[in-house]
């Protein structure tokens, strides 16, 4: 059974239709890549899944339960966590405190003391490689550090499903490879299902078990990375030109 399924979700912002009936399943234990051109509705979909937006129609199911109207903090406590595309750390808190917040409020909500939360948070900082900076204010971190902190904060809630919204954007090639290793480690060691929004094709194709492609609020393809790479519709969307797309796919 799917860990999370999105069923025919429509989301409008005034006259703009960001999602036009998107359905997809996220299977337990997989890394699902979500790609698509700018404005195709990827982040909106994540916002619908986390509960920041309510869909105009359609359903979101998590572990067989309808969560379409569930508030965001409850969804987090159920096991859905996310990172933000533009990192949003709690600036004036230390790196450690940032993670303590999500440990205290996540799935262990109410069952963990502040001291225990700090210990758990330190373990998580170890995983993402931020231990050295734990006492620094989070605003002092650089771009990569902030991306890692986003991940640490999401992990703090002990999710079953973690959604990474462009966590590789703006990183240098060597930082990207480090990050990919961390993501794989999280999936393998912590058994967390991952939905990954990404623009870096080689990274997505490399790490994903399956890939879903959105364009203009619609799902246009779904399948194994190699199938997607050979999909003429996907190539057309990305190249904007059928001839070019054909050439690319043939090669």
């Amino acid at each position: 059974m799917a860990l999370l399924s999105v069923d025919n979700v429509v989301k409008r912002f005034g006259g703009v239709i960001a999602l036009r009936g998107v359905s997809l399943d996220i299977r337990e234990g997989e890394i699902l890549g979500l790609i698509g051109p700018n404005g195709s509705g990827k982040t909106t979909l994540v916002n619908v899944i986390t509960g920041v937006y309510h869909p105009d129609s359609g359903k979101v199911m998590f572990k067989g339960e309808d969560i379409t109207r569930t508030p965001p903090h409850i969804r987090c406590r159920m096991g859905i966590a996310r990172t933000y595309q533009i990192p949003r750390p709690f600036n004036n808190l230390t790196v450690l405190e940032n993670v303590v917040v999500s440990v205290l409020n996540g799935r262990r909500h109410g069952k963990v003391s502040v001291d225990e939360a700090k210990e758990l948070a330190e373990d998580i900082l170890e995983v993402v490689g931020l231990s050295k900076f734990k006492e620094y204010p989070s605003k002092s971190l650089n771009a990569q550090g902030r991306k890692r902190l986003e991940m640490a904060r999401a992990l703090g809630a002990e999710p079953e499903l973690m959604m990474l919204d462009e966590c590789l954007a703006g990183l240098t090639p060597s930082e990207v490879s480090e990050m990919l290793i961390t993501i794989k480690r999280i999936r393998d060691e912590k058994k967390i299902t991952i939905l990954m929004i990404e623009h870096l094709m080689h990274a997505v194709m490399n790490i994903s078990d399956r890939v879903v492609v959105l364009n203009e609020g619609m799902k246009i393809a779904e399948g194994k990375p190699e199938e997607i790479a050979g999909d003429i519709k996907v190539a057309e969307v990305y190249f904007g030109d059928r001839e070019l797309a054909l050439k690319f796919v043939k090669r």
């Binding site: 903090h73 966590a81 709690f90 808190l93 917040v101 999500s102 205290l104 409020n105 502040v114 939360a117």
Partner: protein, 307 residues
């Protein structure tokens, strides 16, 4: 123990000075009053980032509850506590409506609460309307300025301990997270409404009790004197001046605010507000994180005691 040095020193100085003369006692009474109202506001404003211009309403509610009970012949000290409890109940009601709003919208909404309650009492002729309730004959025998000041002292100490506890509690972390980034806090599992309502109720309790002390002190509650927007503004100013979100901040802030105000009144009568305003603008531009933040940045060694 060393961590609490600042609190111990300030409270000991205040107690010592209160015993010197009744003139000092008056000043200290007011400093302690400001400490109570600003530290209680700090829970909401410093940790939660919510500017509550309606803070003065809690003093008014406490004062009115106190007066109405004292007139019924109920012990004044019990009436003070009842005032605090009622104030928290009202905070729950106000909070459930206003705390849906964020940032500046919440601030503007709370700004309307003070005149709303004031003119509700005047226009509705509630509890004596504009004339209020005179308490002199009920309280004159029990009056003792030392007891009133020491009640404020105890309130101030209790609320400071409470604020210290909250600062490192799950509630404190959640409030700070909401202050820094509301949406990111929600998706990290923080129950915004619950945390903010609890903070609101706690921050209303102590000014409610202090309202009873004020009523006792002046023997008279009327809308114009006990529901005063100035108190809200003073509390916000003191929190900003001392250091928002720190526990020592409001204490140091209240002390400096009152001493400065008194000195200016004595040496520059008539010009005191102008000079005071300029000083505040200067101080906030030099030290946006308040006096505590400024000292902490300048003198790293002080950081351990300026909590």
């Amino acid at each position: 123990m060393k961590r609490y040095l600042v609190f111990v020193v300030i409270y000991l100085i205040l107690i010592a000075l209160s015993l010197v003369s009744t003139a000092y006692l008056e000043v200290i009474y007011y400093i302690l009053f400001l400490m109570v109202i600003s530290q209680s506001l700090n829970i909401l404003m410093g940790f939660g980032g919510l500017y509550n211009f309606g803070h003065a309403v809690f003093i008014g509610i406490g004062a009115y509850a106190f007066a109405l009970l004292v007139v019924q012949g109920i012990n004044p000290y019990i009436s003070m506590i009842a005032g605090g409890v009622l104030s928290s109940v009202v905070a729950l009601l106000i909070g459930m409506v206003t705390l849906r709003l964020r940032g500046p919208y919440f601030a503007i909404c709370t700004l309307a609460i003070v005149p709303a309650i004031k003119y509700l009492i005047i226009g509705g002729k509630i509890a004596g309307g504009a004339a209020g309730i005179v308490l002199l004959r009920y309280l004159i025998e029990a009056y003792n300025p030392y007891i009133l000041s020491y009640i404020l002292l105890s309130l101030s100490i209790i609320i400071t301990i409470l604020t210290l506890k909250i600062s490192t509690s799950p509630l404190g972390y959640s409030l700070k997270a909401l202050r820094e980034d509301h949406d990111a806090a929600l998706t990290s599992g923080v129950d915004a409404t619950r945390c903010r309502v609890i903070a609101f109720i706690l921050s209303a309790l102590f000014p409610g009790v202090a309202g009873g002390v004020v009523a006792f002190k002046i023997f008279w509650v009327m809308p114009e004197t006990v529901i005063d927007l100035t108190w809200s503004v003073e509390a916000i100013l003191i929190v900003l001046l001392g250091g928002s979100g720190t526990v020592t901040g409001p204490i140091i802030g209240a002390l400096i605010y009152e001493v400065l105000k008194d000195l200016l009144m004595r040496y520059f009568p008539g010009l005191q507000l102008l000079i005071f305003g300029l000083l505040v603008v200067a101080l906030i531009s030099v030290a946006p994180e308040g006096i505590v933040g400024l000292l902490g940045n300048r003198f790293k060694k002080l950081r351990r005691i300026l909590i």
